[in-house]
Structure formats: C-alpha cells, structure tokens
C-alpha cells in the first residue's frame, strides 16, 4: 500500500476538469453532462528501431 493516503477529496468534491485522451465518444459524453473537458489529438509515438530508441533513451 502507499505510504501516503490518497487524498482525492479535492477532486471528488470540487468541479471536475477532465482531459480526454483517446476515444472521442467519451469527450462527447462528458460534454453532454456539462463537465469541463479538453480533448487531446493523441497519436501513438512513431516506432523507432530498438538501437535508435536505446540511444535516444540514453541521451534524454
């Protein structure tokens, strides 16, 4: 278990502000309920060759 108790009270008791990443239907479902939501134009990161990825991981 976590060392720190989860304090989600702030989120659960205040106005929901949601960022939606992925299926657009969920964005529309939130909008229908007048929940503040921003939709993200998410795309999977381009696939790199393993050697290139390893090199980048080391550099960054």
């Amino acid at each position: 278990m976590g060392e720190k108790s989860i304090d989600a009270a702030a989120m659960l008791s205040s106005e929901l502000k949601v960022v939606n990443v992925g299926l657009e239907i969920f964005y529309h479902a939130l909008k229908l309920q007048n929940i503040k939501v921003v939709d993200v134009n998410w795309n999977p990161p381009p696939k790199l060759e393993k050697d290139t990825q390893d090199l980048l991981d080391k550099m960054l």
Partner: protein, 530 residues
C-alpha cells in the same frame, strides 16, 4: 474505426461498413460477417480493406462516395464542435486545475503517460485494456505513494459526484458509494439503485485486475478509504467478481476494523472467505449477485427504500413461472439450448455463474468461460448452451465495442435463429453515456427477423432481454423496454432474473427455483436471520 462509424451513418441502407487493416483477425471477422472469402483473402497485411454491405445500390453508391471523400480529406473526421489540444501538456495548459485525465489509448502506451501524470499529482481513469499487469502494478504503487487515484486500467465506468465518466448512466445523487471491479456490474447496480429511488454519490471502477493477487487490491482499498471519509455516504457497496482470497480478507478486515460505515459485499457467485453469504459481521452484508446487492443497500437505508427496490427489481418465483409458461409452451421438442449474446462483460460472467449452477448437468460453453464452463472451440460459432461475451478481443479488434456498435450481435442473432436446437436468446441492452444512441432500436429488425425465421420453420423463438439503464438516460429507458415488449421479448428487470428466466423457459419450467432464489435472488429476511 472512425471512418467505419461515419460510413454506417451515411444512410439507413448501410447494413455494415468496415475499414480495417487486412490482418488475419480482421479478415476472419469480415468473412464471418458474410463478405466474400475469395476477395478478402487476396488482401495482405499491409492492405486496407473496405467492406460495405448495403440494402440497395443507391446506398452503396452513397457509401463509396463517402469513403473517397473521407480518405481524401481526413480532416473531416474531427467533428468540428471541439478544438483539440495538440498533446496532453497543451491540454493541461489550456485547462489549469485539471483534476482528472481519462485515458483510452492502446495499453502499451499507458505506463509512460500515466507516470508523467502521477508526477504532476493528476488522478486518472484508465479505460485502456491490455495494459501489462506489471505496468499496472508499477502505476498503482507509484500512484498510491504519491496520493494519486488510479481508476482502471480496464475501467470503463465511474461516477464522480453523480456525474458519469466513460460508459455510465444518468444516476441521481444519493447516499451510496460503490467500489467496483466490474464495469457493467457498476452500471447495473447504480442504475437499479437509481430506479429504486436511491442515488449514488461516487461509483469508482478500479479495473478487473485490481482485486487479483498480482495487484493486491491497491486501489480497491484506497477507494474504500476515500468513501469512508465522505460524510454524505451512508453505505458502501463493493461489486466484483470474486477477488483472490488474500484481497477478499483485506477488504473484510478493513471494513470490520477501520470502517465506520455499513458495507454490502457483492462478490458475484460468492467469495471464499467466511462462507459465501449472509452477514460476515454487523458491518457487512454479503450477497452473490448484482441484483441482491441493490436490495441489501436498500435494506440498510430503511424499509421504505427496500419496498421500492423490491417493486422495481424483484419478481416472486410464482410470478416468474406464470409469466413464462406461455413461452415454453410454444417451443418445439428439438429446441433445447439457450444462446446468450452479451455486450456487457460482467453480465456474461453473472449469467455463467447462475446458469452454471441452475443447469449443472447441462453442457454450457463460453468464449470467456468461468470455472466449470466449457471453452467454446470457436467464438464465432455457438454450441450447446452458449454464453457469449461480444466485448472480448476476438470481436473488438479493429472494431468498436458492441455497446457502441452492435453490428456484430445483429448478425449473430440471425445466425442463432437458424439453429433448430435454439429455443431462447438472452440479450442485454446497455443504455447511458458512451453507449449506442439506440441499442434496442439497432437490434429490433434482427429480433423480429429471428422470430420470423423460427416461425417459418415451425418453431418459436423465445427472447429474454434485460435493459440496464435509468429513466434519465438519453436513449430512453421506458421506450427501450416498450420496443422490446412490442417485438415479443420478455423483459426482465435485472440480469440475474433474465438468466434465471432463460433457464426456466428452456427447461419448460422444470427447474427447482429454490436454490437460485436463495443464492442469487435472496430476500432480506435471510440476512436478518443470519
């Protein structure tokens, strides 16, 4: 997927439209949907397949024109009523104070994004399936240490302050908190509570892996603590397929020793710690079905609530048999099997639990079998009694979930109706946010055709249905039930009753209802006497 969806909406004459990469799985699905194998097989993995079936030539022309149009100008695929942020950082800058991120992206990409969000202290609901369990553990351990709430992975449903996130119903706010590791289970329980005049404040979905040993119930227990601290919540329901014994013990220990509220522990089919039913302590009521959990919550809240819950969700065994007598009276002797075609995963599970116990000596198969149920050799072809989860990967790869796009079930209904050994079709219809705009309407033609096919062949097709939803759902709960009723379906108020009703019909009323009623449709006097 998005283009396919647009195509289907071009005209009512479009029966099926799929634009998919020509992977072996997608090719297999299209062939099973009735497209020509010789054409489909010519496509290689790097090809894109465009498959359209239409009622008439005009619809086909419209659809092909739309394909050209969409592929030439993909920008049209954004609906235009929202401005999309270019990435998550940009979205967080656009909306300072973001307190929840909803992730529905391929599972392999979840961990990296989730870690970054945890570092920023942002709670998450992760709908994505196929997140490696090692990733899930790492995410949840890190989140718990940082005080961040993770709902999911594999959590399609949550309710926060009465608002639905993901697939969810329009629920009134009330004194109940729910923690669930069962998506449509959470929808069923919260919808039935709403129908019973009891609202829900928070319903937190933690994902199906959470109560297993590998994750150890990390978020389930954190959610219990969160709900315990909420003064508006009087009773907490835990809804799950049976957890590992160790996690079940942790849940019970926390509720008994640290909890100050009453608990209803609904482990579908029963748990393994401290017997399978009734009260574990004066803090906890244990039940074995989704429907029973609603009666238990109502009982805790008072007799007035219980009375209403009973009137909305319960049916006496005698009344059930009376209602169904006509149904089984019309079956031919060759009609021996139930075919359950589910869109909800938890409903599939609960139906297997109930049917597996009622019809112990009968062969029951599933594509997602639980203990004692046989693995279906081919998910696309039913055998004997079959309980099919159409939300499983083999049906959803490259296609929307059947709760969003019911096409795959429409074809399956027609196929089952041709089988002379089938006597009962059992169907669920899930309403609410995120779901198809009219799931009942979408299947109505096929339901009617299934009945006509049976009739033409001198048989009768009994169709038992359950609608999971509330009066405030956008699809219209009462209208959905009325449509099913007018098409000759028997509509049951709960999934548990629908499963029992199917067994009653196919057995021609010969099953002993004492056991299923005492285990899955029990009445509160059992708990009081415990």
């Amino acid at each position: 997927m998005k283009i396919s969806d647009r195509l289907r909406r071009v005209s009512d004459g479009i029966l099926e439209a799929s634009i998919v990469m020509a992977t072996e799985t997608n090719k297999g699905i299209l062939i099973r949907l009735g497209f020509s194998p010789s054409t489909i097989e010519q496509a290689s993995e790097s090809d894109m397949l465009i498959a359209i079936r239409a009622k008439d030539e005009a619809s086909l022309v419209l659809a092909t024109a739309k394909v050209d149009n969409l592929l030439e100008s993909p920008a049209q695929l954004t609906t235009g009523d929202q401005e999309k942020a270019s990435d998550i950082d940009a979205a967080l800058r656009t909306m300072p104070g973001t307190n929840l991120v909803m992730l529905s992206i391929p599972g392999e990409h979840v961990k990296d994004i989730s870690h970054k969000l945890i570092e920023r202290g942002i709670h998450q609901l992760i709908f994505s399936d196929h997140v490696p369990v090692e990733d899930e553990l790492e995410i949840k351990e890190m989140a718990a240490a940082k005080g961040v709430l993770i709902l999911g992975p594999g959590a399609g449903t949550s309710i926060i302050n009465g608002k639905g996130i993901g697939f969810s119903n329009a629920i009134s706010t009330g004194p109940v908190g729910v923690v669930a590791a069962a998506g449509t289970g959470l929808q069923e329980v919260t919808s039935l509570l709403d129908q019973s005049g009891i609202g829900v404040k928070h319903g937190l979905g933690v994902g199906g892996n959470d109560p297993k040993d590998k994750i150890g119930g990390i978020m389930m227990l954190e959610c219990m603590k969160i709900l315990e601290k909420d003064d508006d919540i009087k009773v907490i329901a835990i809804v799950s397929k049976p957890p590992s014994p160790a996690v079940e013990q942790k849940i019970i220990d926390y509720a008994v020793s640290s909890g100050a509220k009453k608990y209803v522990l609904a482990l579908i089919g029963g748990g393994s710690v401290g017997g399978s039913r009734k009260q574990v302590s004066n803090m906890i009521i244990r039940v074995n079905s989704l429907a029973s959990s609603v009666l238990a919550v109502a009982k805790v809240l008072g007799d007035e609530h219980l009375h209403r819950a009973l009137s909305r969700t319960y049916m006496q065994p005698e009344a059930l048999v009376n209602l169904l007598q006509k149904e089984w009276g019309r079956l031919q002797s060759s009609q021996r099997f139930i075919r359950a075609l589910y869109t909800g995963g938890t409903f599939t599970y609960e139906a297997q639990v109930i049917l597996g116990e009622i019809m112990k000596d009968e062969p029951i198969c599933s594509n997602a079998p639980i203990q004692r149920i046989k693995q279906l050799q081919d998910s696309f072809k039913s055998q004997e009694h079959s309980v099919i989860d159409l939300g499983e990967e083999e049906f959803t790869k490259g296609r929307p979930h059947p709760m969003i796009d019911p096409t795959i079930r429409k074809f399956r209904i027609l196929e089952e109706a041709k089988d002379p050994e089938v006597g009962v079709l059992l169907l669920d219809f899930v309403l609410g946010y995120g779901a198809n705009p009219d799931p009942v309407g979408a299947a109505l033609d096929e339901i009617k055709q299934a009945k006509e096919t049976a009739e033409r062949n001198g048989r009768y097709m009994s169709i038992v249905a359950h609608v999971c939803g509330t009066k405030n759902d956008i699809q219209g709960y009462d209208q959905s039930i009325a449509k099913l009723g007018s098409a000759g379906c028997i509509v049951m108020p709960t999934n548990a009753l629908a499963a029992v009703a199917s067994a009653v019909v196919i057995s021609r009323g010969k099953i002993d209802l004492t056991h299923p009623y005492s285990k899955y449709l029990e009445l509160p006097h059992d708990w009081i006497e415990a």
